[in-house]
């Protein structure tokens, strides 16, 4: 089964890449863009039934750096607890 992990910079952490893309969009004439923040989508193909707690461990140990990033998990099986 496929699990999606979305990793985002926490609010308040400067995102120079997002800022540059924001400027580019404005320069292309797109009006009304208030802010751009760039994150990362990680798609994991895992064994059916892999629970959210396991995916959470993957996120905390490697996929996200929780000093600067937050993450959300989509598609994992509910943790048995």
């Amino acid at each position: 089964m496929q699990v999606r992990v979305l990793v985002r910079l926490k609010p308040g952490v400067l995102d120079p890449q997002g800022r540059a893309v924001h400027h580019a969009l404005e320069g292309m004439g797109f009006a009304g863009v208030e802010d751009v923040r760039i994150g990362r989508l990680i798609e994991l193909d895992v064994t059916d039934g892999t629970d959210e707690a396991t995916i959470r461990q993957m996120c905390e140990k490697l996929l996200a750096n929780t000093v600067i990033e937050s993450f959300t998990i989509e598609g994992a099986s509910e943790s048995a607890n």
Binding site: V13, A20, N65, V67
Partner: protein, 229 residues
Amino acid sequence: MAFRAAVITFPGSNCDRDMATALEAVSGTPALRMWHGDADLPGQLDLIALPGGFSYGDYLRSGAMAANSPIMRAVVAAATRGVPVLGVCNGFQVLTEARLLPGALLRNAGQRFICRTVGLTVENTGTLFTAGYTQGEHVRIPVAHHDGNFYADADTLDRIEGEGRVAFRYAESCNGSARDIAGVLSANGRVLGMMPHPERAIEPAAVAGLGGTDGRRLFESMLNQLVSA
């Protein structure tokens, strides 16, 4: 007594040879060279050095993959026992990812790779890495990085400043780092991470503006502290 230093090489490290050369130039003893896949470090080390470069191609985040390599488990265990660890540039990024140091290194605020010699102030001379400098001294050491923008939350910044854990600060704003922090120490003062490259400043300038010896004193400080200890 010989100075036993180990330099770790990850796939994509590119300052490992410079680091080993600097250590040998100052100590007279060749550094041990370790590979990321090694599971164990030799005992009785005086220093573990994590060099600059682009370990694992900076995949995922700078330093993130290296922080989870087999050798880093041994480095974390050694650091916990009090073995001194120096991380320069990518080595600093690896140390934050391994949680041996607080904070994280973000993309430079100006988005650009910065490669030039910068002014630093020495903020704490009470460490084994900085004892050879004078408090508040202005030194010049090269930087070369894309992800050197030090970030930590305000509470963490207040804490590390209060504990004297800022070793070096940029004399002028460089890459957007919080409070212009260029080098950070662990709580016990025996792990130092810094973006500037002291190993690139160990010889007098052959050409005006290139080189210098301000980095050499960092290695001399370690040698004096550790060999005499």
